[in-house]
Symmetry: C2
Subunit: 277 residues, 2 copies
């Protein structure tokens, strides 16, 4: 089998999607990646569906211009409100979002049929997780909670600070007490996995945390195999990432390291303008 040497395109509003890139790189060591963070306009989580759709379309065009063989929408908000727009527009490559893999993992995990989803305001408002979960298992009880402050806490790198613990207690404390509490919590924003320890201290050890980065990486691996798009083993640039950002490479590298869990050299981050796409 010759293999498809083209890179996989990963798109996010900023740096949070690097948690997805990290899972993809670990699951698919033979692939190379192009990552685009729309840092000049982040965050998407507080913006309207129409605005996020317009931004996501521009990002998609840039990645297609760079010859990607598959598009991963690593941003929950963009996956929630813009995926169907992108699917209509681009039938050239498979497009995979993070919502459906996260919803599927939540359904597979829960024992008591009660799932909580924490996400940005935009993702919650769009209701995509609720729809996806109920599509897989209609009688599931789903509670959504917007946790907007978590985004800023994660970007500040306050993984386990008193402020993060207090925010976690504020958002999640009321829901996770008593016998009717959910047994599964879907982390429906790419920023949230870095706060998993603090979240765990509020919800307790019996609640399963679903990180959609891991389940998305699994979905991408399946799609690559099913469509014959996997790269040939041992290609020389396997594992490399080309980084694009729409604003400050310095901040992308500094904050991105929190989410990618390794240092990023700012000199390797290319500044691009999406306005012309």
């Amino acid at each position: 089998m010759p293999g498809d040497p083209r890179p996989i395109g990963v798109f996010d509003s900023g740096m949070g999607g690097l948690t997805v890139l990290r899972a993809l790189a670990a699951r698919l060591p033979g692939e190379r990646f192009v990552y685009l963070g729309d840092t000049a306009r982040l965050p998407y989580g507080t913006k309207s569906a129409e605005t996020v759709q317009a931004y996501a379309l521009q990002a998609t065009r840039l990645l297609l211009d760079h010859g990607v063989k598959m598009l991963v929408i690593a941003c929950n908000t963009a996956s929630a409100v813009a995926l169907y727009v992108l699917e209509e527009a681009w039938e050239k490559v498979p497009v995979i979002g993070v919502i459906e893999p996260g919803a599927r993992a939540g359904v597979a995990t829960t024992r008591n049929g009660r799932i909580a989803v924490i996400a940005t305001e935009g993702t919650v408002k769009g209701g995509a997780y609720v729809r996806a979960i109920k599509r897989f298992k209609p009688d599931t009880e789903v509670v959504q909670l917007p946790c907007q402050v978590f985004v800023a806490l994660a970007e500040e790198g306050w993984i386990n600070s008193p402020a993060t613990l207090a925010a976690s207690a504020h958002y999640l404390g009321p829901l996770f007490q008593g016998p009717a509490q959910p047994d599964t919590l879907v982390l429906g924003c790419t920023h949230f996995p870095v706060l998993a320890d603090a979240i765990r201290r509020t919800v307790g050890s019996d609640v399963a945390l679903v990180d959609s980065a891991l389940t998305t990486a699994e979905a991408v691996a399946e799609a690559l195999a099913a469509k014959g798009l996997a790269s040939a083993p041992g290609s020389e640039d396997a594992g490399t990432v080309r980084f694009f950002a729409t604003d400050s490479p310095e901040r992308f590298a500094r904050v991105g390291a929190i989410f990618l869990n390794r240092a990023i050299d700012p000199a390797t981050v290319e500044l691009v303008d999406l306005w012309t796409f």
Copy 2:
């Protein structure tokens, strides 16, 4: 004196500048206002100077198209990095930012010559407050602290929550202890005045908090008088505000009420597109 009936234009990255609008409306009850929040691209505080300059230029053009007689840059970040660009571009109307009034008030307030400035990452990086304070009084000691999480906490309306108190202690606790602490704290972001109570609980009652919204309103009043631009007393639409936002009027109205301290009817918020400016 006939008076100048044109409105005053107020520009901010989002809703935080409504603290400045509120101070302006209280100080200048005879004026009317046009307020523009660039909510589709907020926040500016984490973005590069070049990006903020481009955004601020577009916003300025829209407000000039609406016939404003003066331009108030209510966003600290835009004031810090884009004011001189706007001044070069637009000699048609006076342009007033929030940095210089805040710096002047800080210098007038301090007794021990030590001033702390808390602001967004972008404002701190640009160093505009330090330059402005030292221009007024060169031997002042100025310490800057970026407090990015405060922005999200204010937008969430967590005025006095445990998370806000913890964040305040994290950011400000180390600086405000011991004999060499500053006696003056400039709130160098329009979001921060709504968190003043929580901040006060960290810094103590002996530290003066300088809210640049109030001092900016004073500077605007002086400039109107000096240039003969004040409106005639008793004009019928005095005190009215026309709101523009680049994204979701619903969110603008909901979050904006926190900063304006009164309800905003979403139906009165007009959606505009700055891309074409």
